[in-house]
């Protein structure tokens, strides 16, 4: 562990809608109470699922940690990171009303700013993006001047594939401000999380996030987003890692035979992904032996892609084993310091508000 390490995935839990009300305008503060909308929880993270919150980090009633003090004690101070990036998972993607989605995203982002960023100078945050493209662009423009916001964040299973042209104003706004697009595990529940229909069990749904990431990545690459926005970086957060090499092999192999369908791609998809896409290392999804992990890292064919993250408070490891077993020691400075700093321009620039 180095003192310059950057933890690229921390989750500040919003205790409930009441927490957000002070950060809403009169209309939304009034109407959410009047309508009785007190909680909004996505089944992507069932509160009592063991993976949703590590057992030793749960509150007295089993709840998720939701204060800076808890984050400091459980992760930030404990592992001595120089900086940590907050990725709020409050499900602003669920409302079908564009306006409600945007009002909630604004409130979450302002809550993060006031109750987290202002209370610990090590903290940075994602701009949680609402569903609507215009609203998402507006939220980027509203918060970009505060350089503690280091990226915009969406879910891997949203309303439409992320590469489609409808989304390009968001990519343009992010590129303009030097903000990566973070794609986090989770669904807006507009579609079944598998392409063959609704799964019955949580374990199916949890596993299906990797399909969502694959579809999002294929869409971003083949639609030509990285040709249109060569400065844009994408960070896959909580995506798992081990599925990527096989997926890239298939995408690139198939592309060779249908290149004329997407002629704007001037080089193989795997190369484009290696240049533009980064991923956090928790979960890692690999067996716990060094040889297998090394082979997997060879298959990535890049040591630039991985970003250290604890995924606090989700449960991926016991005690202080923040790095997957078998991970080569020599790569740690790279994934903990160099790669995050290369990915996040605003971390290099200092980033105090």
């Amino acid at each position: 562990m180095t003192t310059a390490a950057i933890d690229c995935d921390l989750h500040p839990a919003v205790p409930g809608v009441a927490t957000l009300l002070p950060y809403m305008d009169d209309y939304w503060r009034h109407t959410l109470v009047e309508r009785g909308i007190e909680v909004l929880e996505s089944s992507s993270y069932p509160p009592n699922a063991p993976s949703s919150v590590r057992a030793d980090w749960r509150g007295p009633k089993g709840g998720a940690p939701s204060t800076v003090a808890q984050l400091q004690a459980q992760a930030l101070d404990r592992w001595g990171a120089a900086a940590g990036i907050l990725n709020p998972m409050f499900p602003v993607q669920l409302p079908f009303s564009r306006d409600m989605s945007a009002a909630m995203a604004r409130a979450v982002n302002d809550w993060v700013r006031a109750e987290w960023l202002d209370r610990d100078a090590r903290l940075r945050a994602s701009i949680l993006l609402p569903n609507g493209v215009e609203e998402a662009v507006a939220e980027i423009e509203r918060l970009a001047p505060d350089i503690r916001f280091v990226q915009g964040m969406v879910l891997c299973m949203g309303e439409i594939p992320l590469g489609r042209r409808e989304w390009w104003p968001v990519h343009a706004a992010l590129e303009k401000h030097g903000l990566p697009l973070a794609i986090h595990a989770g669904s807006a529940w507009r579609h079944p999380p598998t392409s063959v229909g609704w799964p019955s069990w949580y374990v199916e749904e949890y596993t299906s996030n990797s399909y969502g990431f694959q579809a999002s990545l294929a869409s971003l690459v083949t639609e030509g987003v990285f040709q249109k926005h060569p400065g844009l970086k994408v960070v896959l957060v909580e995506s798992g890692v081990s599925w990527l090499p096989g997926f890239l092999w298939r995408l690139t192999k198939s592309w060779k035979g249908v290149r004329f369908e997407v002629p704007w791609l001037d080089r193989p998809p795997a190369e484009i992904v290696r240049d533009h896409v980064r991923m956090t290392i928790r979960p890692f999804d690999a067996p716990e032996d060094g040889e297998t992990v090394s082979r997997l890292l060879d298959h990535l064919r890049s040591d630039e892609m991985l970003l250290w993250a604890t995924d606090w408070p989700h449960a991926h490891f016991d005690g202080d084993a923040t790095v997957p077993p078998g991970f080569p020691e020599g790569l740690l400075p790279k994934i903990m310091v160099d790669n995050p700093r290369a990915t996040y321009a605003r971390l290099r620039e200092g980033g105090s508000a």
């Binding site: 030509g224 290149r259 004329f260 704007w264």
Partner: protein, 137 residues
């Protein structure tokens, strides 16, 4: 390399192709608007016969959503995995440096020149008044 008379030129009209044997190799000869090109009839990927593929043009793009089509009929796609090869160079489009098919020099010569020279046409008579495809392999 020896020179081989492989076909009467009239047998490969513009847009046409013909598989010939020369020096023990299967070679496919293309006629692009009167210019002849010869490639080994074997895809460098897994050995598919290029001669069985479809002719296509070159699709390029300035930016996503724009299509620039040119050089119609100047590319051959391997029938097995549809990789595109430039008939004029033998190079694949997606990886021209490393993935390419062997090319052979080919020309059209008059029968009058051929009957006087040191050429051998093994399978058909060469007539003075016709022209022939001559391949170096």
């Amino acid at each position: 390399m020896a020179r081989h008379v492989v076909a009467p030129a009239a047998e490969i009209p513009p847009g046409g192709r013909k598989v010939v044997e020369a020096a023990g190799k299967r070679i496919v000869v293309f006629n692009l608007e009167g210019e002849f090109f010869a490639l080994l009839d074997r895809c460098p990927h897994q050995g598919g016969a290029l001669s069985g593929g479809i002719l296509c043009g070159l699709t390029q793009s300035e930016e996503p959503g724009t299509y620039r089509f040119s050089r119609s009929g100047e590319f051959i796609r391997c029938p097995w995995h549809q990789w595109e090869f430039d008939i004029r160079t033998g190079k694949s489009w997606f990886d021209p440096r490393r993935t390419k098919v062997r090319q052979f020099p080919v020309a059209v010569e008059e029968g009058a020149a051929l009957v006087e020279g040191p050429y051998q046409a093994e399978t058909f008579p060469v007539r003075v008044e016709d022209s022939y495809v001559v391949l170096e392999a």
